[in-house]
């Protein structure tokens, strides 16, 4: 006999799902903000920093890209207390996910920075800019533009990967769904709804990345010729 779907008991717990969704948004947004900052900083150090710092950055990247996020969560939440660092589940989740994203985005940013021709750097230096000013004004925006699709793809993985924080009982959507499932026994309905919410979140986040991209890579509109007073026009415009 075909299974009769019944969403009613799950929907009755809607407030918990909403709360879980909000928590997932905050967990992801904070982790993304911190992780991207870490990634950009370490990428700059790996590309243009002192050798010892670049080596330290490379070690961090390898350590976090070659271990599972779940193990990183366990190490930080269950492991660190043995070294006297006791974090709440939510803080541990933000820390682990940020560090994980930091490692992956380091490599993405680094690819972008390395893709900018050396001649651009030389042009900046020849104008008297410092290396830091060259990075800030000459390199970063074109580099970001090259890697932007790869970066936003990674950020989507981070949003979805935040569900793993449920394993250390950080409050977020998957944990909320798991609790509802265990009490209603409506596994299919509960996780279908959770999946639908994740899809919606992904769309919203991607729309935000798109808008940020529009702003980051905007071009100034050329001045409209009608707005230029007649007298200020080029000499050849006057006969």
């Amino acid at each position: 006999m075909a299974y009769q779907m019944n969403f009613t008991p799950v929907l009755a717990r809607a407030p918990e799902l909403v709360e879980g969704t909000i928590n997932t948004v905050f967990l992801s947004a904070q982790s993304i903000a911190i992780g991207v900052t870490i990634g950009l900083a370490i990428a700059l150090i790996r590309v243009d920093g002192p050798k010892w710092a670049a080596a330290a950055g490379a070690t961090y990247v390898e350590a976090f890209r070659n271990t599972p996020l779940l193990v990183q969560l366990f190490l930080i939440f269950f492991g660190l207390p043995y070294m006297g660092v006791r974090l709440s589940a939510n803080t541990a989740a933000i820390l682990a996910i940020s560090l994980n994203l930091g490692a992956y985005s380091t490599e993405i940013f680094r690819a972008g920075l390395l893709a900018i021709p050396r001649t651009q750097i030389e042009a900046g230096l020849a104008l008297g800019l410092s290396r830091l000013q060259v990075m800030r004004y000459v390199i970063i925006v074109p580099a970001l533009r090259i890697i932007y699709p790869a970066l936003t793809g990674q950020l989507t993985l981070t949003l979805l990967g935040s569900s793993m924080a449920s394993a250390i009982s950080a409050t977020e959507l998957t944990l909320a769904a798991a609790k509802i499932e265990s009490q209603t026994f409506r596994s299919l309905e509960t996780f279908l709804i959770a999946a639908a919410i994740y899809i919606a979140l992904t769309f919203v986040f991607r729309a935000i990345y798109w808008l940020i991209g529009l702003w980051l890579f905007r071009r100034k509109a050329p001045p409209a010729p009608v707005l230029v007073p007649l007298l200020e026009r080029q000499p050849e415009a006057r006969i």
Binding site: A123, L125, A126, G128, L129, V138, R145
Partner: protein, 243 residues
């Protein structure tokens, strides 16, 4: 005091010597063309002058600055020594006006209010007043190179270095860039140009220098330099251009 004085300059890439003891002096207002075969060291020498390329021995003094020491000292030097590259190297994400004003604003602290006038002033010198709002990819190669020259001029340099600035351009566009450089020469700008344009060197440069195997092989006033080359190497180098 000369605008540029190079003494006993030596540079090697690992075991490969590129510059084997260069001596060269350029007076204020001089236009010096550097010619020579690929690999003769002319671009390397030019890049040593503003410290883009480190060197092992000898000394360079340009616009009153010695090329040495910390990056902050090099920055002081680069404020007064402009450089234009073969590949234009405009910043693709900035429009012409922002390309021009970036260094004046960031390096010299020129206030935004003065930037429009500065942009118009330098663009008029390269004949591109109407392109302030354009982006580099909307310009032809020749226009991009002229903007690059304007960008350099905006720093009000005492000396300008040109590194094969027309080598990436077809003959038609080469003409408009050379015209701009000739006008700068007429206005009294001190310039050192690495170039393959023999007739331009002959016409515009006060002096021409022939580099060969990492040395200054022959130099002289441009008028006599081309009409009566002394060394067989220079004779064979310029022979194809005289027909």
């Amino acid at each position: 005091m000369p605008a540029l004085r190079i003494e006993k300059l030596r540079k090697s890439y690992g075991a490969l010597p590129v510059l084997k003891g260069i001596d060269l002096s350029v007076e204020n207002g001089d236009v010096v063309a550097i010619i020579g075969r690929s690999g003769s060291g002319k671009s390397t020498m030019l890049r040593c002058i503003n410290g883009l390329e480190p060197f092992q021995e000898g000394s360079i003094e340009v616009a009153g600055h010695r090329v040495e020491g910390s990056s902050s000292r090099l920055r002081e030097l680069r404020k007064e020594v402009g450089m234009v590259f073969q590949g234009y190297n405009l910043f693709p994400h900035l429009n012409v006006a922002d390309n021009i004003t970036l260094a004046p604003r960031v390096v010299k602290g020129v206030p935004r209010a003065e930037c429009d006038a500065l942009v118009q002033q330098v663009l008029s010198r390269v004949g591109l007043e109407e392109k302030a709002g354009a982006y580099p990819d909307e310009l032809s190669g020749g226009q991009q190179q002229r903007v690059a020259i304007a960008r350099s001029l905006a720093m009000k340099p005492k000396v300008m270095l040109f590194d094969e600035v027309t080598s990436a351009l077809d003959p038609e566009l080469t003409g408009e860039v050379l015209k701009t450089i000739a006008e700068l020469a007429e206005a009294g700008m001190t310039m050192v140009l690495v170039t393959h344009e023999m007739s331009f060197a002959r016409r515009v440069a006060t002096r021409t220098v022939f580099m060969h195997e990492g040395r200054v092989w022959e130099e002289g006033l441009s008028e006599t330099f081309f009409s009566s080359p002394q060394t067989p190497e220079l004779q064979s180098f310029i022979a194809p251009n005289l027909n």
